[in-house]
Symmetry: C2
Subunit: 251 residues, 2 copies
């Protein structure tokens, strides 16, 4: 039995202030929920149907698995088509490795104000693919626990550590080389091929790029050259640019 109050509480997680207050977030769909369980995230509660409950029969705390009707799942879901599995997890406060020691081979992706949840989700998925397990987000970057981010990350959010903090605090302690994506800079592939150490890559917001405050910490500006000189296209989408740069740094 799922009470109206419980449904209301889960639904309230669509707002950031409620997610922050409770320290929870919502994950929808069998595959993504399994990814979060496999990465030892702390489950608050999981709602599923009679049909799908067998997927969770080995879960260590069976009392947290609630079997309910599709109708209730439809009420809880933030998606147009509610899946048969919806889970609530505790938000993590990751302790990231520090970047004050060179040679530990840990790279960082820094996001300076990404606004679009779809872009953030795609970037988290890219970081996971390219083995960047540490993402630092400025305090004005969109919340990684929003529904659209969680769903666009396709479970990668479960595997990547994301920390929201004042970027100046991060950079004043950082000792790694800092590459920043700009419209003018060194050809990114040359820089990437020359770089064999751990690094920090900074990507700016969709509308404003890297802020001038953070630009001061960038040791090498890099750019993705435009092949089509006749085109008046001004920039690439930030998720596309991140895809290209992370792939070049991983070559």
């Amino acid at each position: 039995m799922v009470t109206k109050n419980q449904i209301k509480k889960i639904k309230s997680l669509r707002l950031k202030k409620n997610r922050l207050q409770l320290g929870w977030f919502c994950v929808e769909g069998l595959k993504i929920v399994k990814d979060f369980l496999n990465q030892n995230n702390t489950l608050v509660v999981l709602y599923t149907t009679e049909n799908q409950v067998h997927h969770f029969k080995d879960y260590s705390t069976p009392s947290k698995i609630v079997v309910t009707s599709q109708k209730v799942l439809d009420q809880i879901s933030n998606l147009t088509n509610a899946p048969e599995v919806i889970a609530v997890f505790e938000q993590k406060q990751p302790d990231l490795p520090n970047s004050t020691t060179l040679g530990n081979n840990t790279s960082f992706l820094v996001l300076d104000g990404i606004q679009d949840p779809g872009n953030l989700g795609t970037i988290i998925r890219l970081a996971d693919w390219f083995g960047i397990t540490n993402i630092i987000c400025s305090l004005h970057t969109t919340d990684c626990y929003a529904t659209k981010v969680v769903q666009a990350s396709m479970g990668s959010l479960a595997r990547v550590s994301i920390k929201y903090q004042n970027l100046s605090d991060f950079f004043t302690k950082n000792k790694l080389p800092v590459y920043g994506a700009f419209l003018e800079g060194k050809r990114s592939i040359d820089v990437a091929i020359a770089n064999k150490e751990a690094y920090v890559l900074v990507m700016g917001s969709e509308a404003h790029g890297i802020s001038s405050e953070i630009e001061a910490f960038v040791t090498q500006k890099i750019t993705i050259p435009k092949s089509n000189r006749d085109s008046n296209i001004e920039s690439l989408n930030v998720a596309s640019a991140t895809a290209i740069l992370l792939s070049q740094f991983s070559v």
Copy 2:
């Protein structure tokens, strides 16, 4: 004065069947509309406010520029926040250069069933950036004149030629090398660096990849290696993968 019937007709363009029947599509926002006008697309009608009409004072057919209220634009718009400029253009039926002659230095991007409008828009923007002006879409690829595609392409749709056709017809006549993105294949960067000729790059659908019918035409399967071997991430988003491959082929 904009009549109710006119508003209804413009609004009807949110459906593909109406876009096909009228041969029209809708573009919203000053910057994108200007891109389409600058690329000599045929304007059907343009609605704008008193505030913004000065941007179009040099347009050759002033009778097609209609000044109206923001309230009317709110009614016409397909976006959550209606802009001050909305235009209707005629769809183009592009004659693409053929790929039956080698050495003409024209490359093609082939999309085999892309479903997500945001992905298609992002891919069109990437093609524009990397100088691929010819895109062939399978008949089951999402319509490039849908609102979300037009807006995500950020005006690049005005500069890139897109043709919907039976892909087998295209490939049986094609003489260029055909690279296809697969989860298993040769390391894409090696192939790209070795390739200095015009090429065809095929990207498959989000859910099913390249269909087996089209796989038969692929002369070289390529893949983007996953750096994070511990991760159980299965694939990259198709727009991210297209970004990486086009950037590598343009090196």
